[in-house]
């Protein structure tokens, strides 16, 4: 009984904010202020809100959406490819200096991205890269955690005998990797991909310092800009659009997590937690 009670409380705690978001995305700017927060009220304005969100300021929301997609595809996609190649190489080949690299990677996991963001900005501004998409994409390419995950996963999932068998059969190094090892790595790849996608999609600090031009903003920065607009003098308060925009921002990720849960849960279990 205690367990059920506990889990119900936790469940409510988790869901209430999300429920609030859905409810309030259906309200107009005026009924936001006048009605009870946790239930529908007034006209059901969800579709209007979505239309307004997409159309506001010449459809800048769609532009931000596109930017986010670009950063995710290039940044997270690139990061995953690098993590696969690096992890595979480190797990299955011996070369001098491997121990040193391992120490650096483990150390790098402990250094968080945000600590590097300010120095990276200072460096990129010297190189003239700030305020371009490159400033967001390049730092996203490195994921020590992803590399570590792929590394441990590749060690567990690919039997060395299998690789040797492929080589004896005359397969080239590339073919061994592509046709024998890659399929075995699939659950690990999905996991790394999903987590880098989340990290890039949700990234706020890095684009915040790198980008000045709203045309290159990702969704997170854009939403915050909309929210701040109400606080500035003469700015139009568009909280209903902020809320609807937030809902639209989290929707793709939530759907991805739900659809792919079989893969990332097993991947996480096999890769990250083994000591």
């Amino acid at each position: 009984m205690m367990l059920t009670a506990l889990s119900s409380i936790v469940l409510v705690y988790t869901i209430v904010p999300l429920f609030w978001l859905v409810v309030n995305a259906s309200k107009t700017q005026s009924s936001l202020f006048s009605s009870f927060g946790l239930w529908f009220s007034g006209d059901f304005a969800l579709w209007d809100n979505i239309q307004q969100t997409l159309a506001y300021d010449d459809g800048v929301f769609l532009r931000w959406f596109g930017n986010t997609l670009l950063y995710v595809v290039a940044g997270a996609g690139g990061a995953t490819v690098l993590a696969i190649l690096g992890g595979y190489g480190l797990a299955k080949f011996n070369f001098p200096g491997k121990k040193g690299i391992f120490a650096i990677v483990i150390g790098a996991v402990a250094v968080p991205g945000t600590a590097l963001a300010v120095p990276t900005f200072l460096m990129f501004s010297q190189l003239g890269l700030t305020n371009t998409p490159w400033a967001v994409i390049i730092p996203s390419l490195i994921t020590p955690f992803g590399l570590y995950l792929m590394w441990t996963f590749a060690m567990e999932a690919i039997p060395t005998e299998l690789m040797e068998a492929a080589r004896v059969d005359g397969a080239s190094e590339f073919r061994t990797f592509w046709q024998v090892c890659l399929p075995l790595l699939a659950p690990g790849i999905v996991t790394v991909l999903l987590f880098t996608v989340v990290a890039t999609w949700n990234n706020y600090f890095l684009p915040l310092i790198m980008l000045k031009n709203p045309d290159w903003y990702p969704l997170t920065l854009g939403l915050n800009a909309w929210n701040n607009q109400a606080a500035t003098a003469g700015g139009e308060a568009i909280f209903n659009l902020v809320i609807t925009g937030s809902l639209l921002t989290i929707l793709p990720l939530v759907v991805a997590f739900l659809l792919l849960q079989r893969y990332w849960q097993s991947g996480l279990a096999e890769g990250s937690v083994k000591e």
Partner: protein
């Protein structure tokens, strides 16, 4: 490896280089040795930010990890209905961007169209506004807990799944009760994940930035420009143009974080070996 160097090692080197200089009105950059570090250690704003995140860390991290562990154990016990649904739901907030989470909670906290205002109106209670200066740290702690509890829970839970069930059977034969099994088998078995989760949470606390930065526009009186060290470093370089000093603050924070992470890792691992 090349990319790794560019985005990882180069910024560190560059910021160490920067931290040793000072931009002067006349004559550009001048080498000043450790002056910036001396200044940081005497800077009350830096210390107050550091004190704030330390307090945050001591309170929020144990609560969040404790809850996560409790949920993971509850799931693992197999006595829960709707296990799968429960697990995925608790994890969902992780997919919500920090910006959206902070905005969402910020709105709910707010007295204007927030829930707190609704409650006070409806029940005649006087729950204080969470965005007031006295409560803001608690409010942020709640947001962070909401975001990452499920993520940590999943890490613990996955670790619990790989514990061989034969251990439980042996314990049951020896007459060990549920709590005994938890404290003698389950907790030691997932020590590695506990250490990892603790390290990540500590890093996260020290680097606290997104939530206060976003809440700032909703609660300008509660969040100062030096609320957390990271926020301070950000404001120094972007509002104050003090790049060199900002780099210094970033380095000090990085070093502190790494030292603490290593200490915990070493201690956690050593105790693990002693137990074997």
């Amino acid at each position: 490896m090349l990319v790794f160097t560019v985005v990882f090692l180069a910024p560190i080197a560059y910021s160490i280089y920067l931290s040793l200089f000072r931009n002067q009105l006349v004559g550009g950059n001048a080498f000043v040795g450790f002056d910036n570090y001396v200044r940081a250690f005497q800077d009350t704003q830096f210390w107050s930010g550091l004190g704030r995140v330390s307090l945050f860390l001591v309170v929020q991290v144990p609560i969040m990890l404790g809850l996560a562990l409790l949920i993971a154990l509850a799931l693992d016990s197999g006595r829960l209905y709707g296990k799968k649904f429960f697990r995925i739901t608790v994890f969902l907030p992780y997919a919500v961007p920090a910006v959206v989470a902070a905005l969402m909670w910020g709105f709910m906290y707010g007295s204007r169209f927030g829930l707190i205002g609704n409650f006070n109106d409806a029940l005649g209670t006087a729950i204080p506004e969470p965005l007031a200066p006295e409560w803001i740290l608690l409010a942020i702690g709640n947001i962070v807990t909401w975001e990452f509890m499920g993520y940590n829970m999943l890490i613990f839970y996955s670790a619990l799944r790989v514990v061989p069930t034969s251990l439980y059977e042996a314990a049951a034969l020896d007459g060990a009760g549920t709590w005994r099994v938890i404290s003698a088998i389950k907790i030691p078995a997932i020590r590695g994940s506990l250490v990892v989760a603790t390290i990540f949470s500590i890093i996260g606390s020290f680097q606290l930035f997104n939530e206060p930065s976003i809440l700032q526009s909703l609660a300008p009186n509660s969040i100062t420009t030096y609320f957390t060290p990271n926020l301070y470093a950000y404001n120094l370089s972007f509002s104050g143009q003090q790049y060199n000093y900002s780099a210094t603050v970033a380095i000090i924070m990085g070093v502190i974080t790494m030292v603490i992470a290593y200490v915990i890792q070493i201690r956690g691992m050593r105790r693990g070996e002693a137990g074997k």
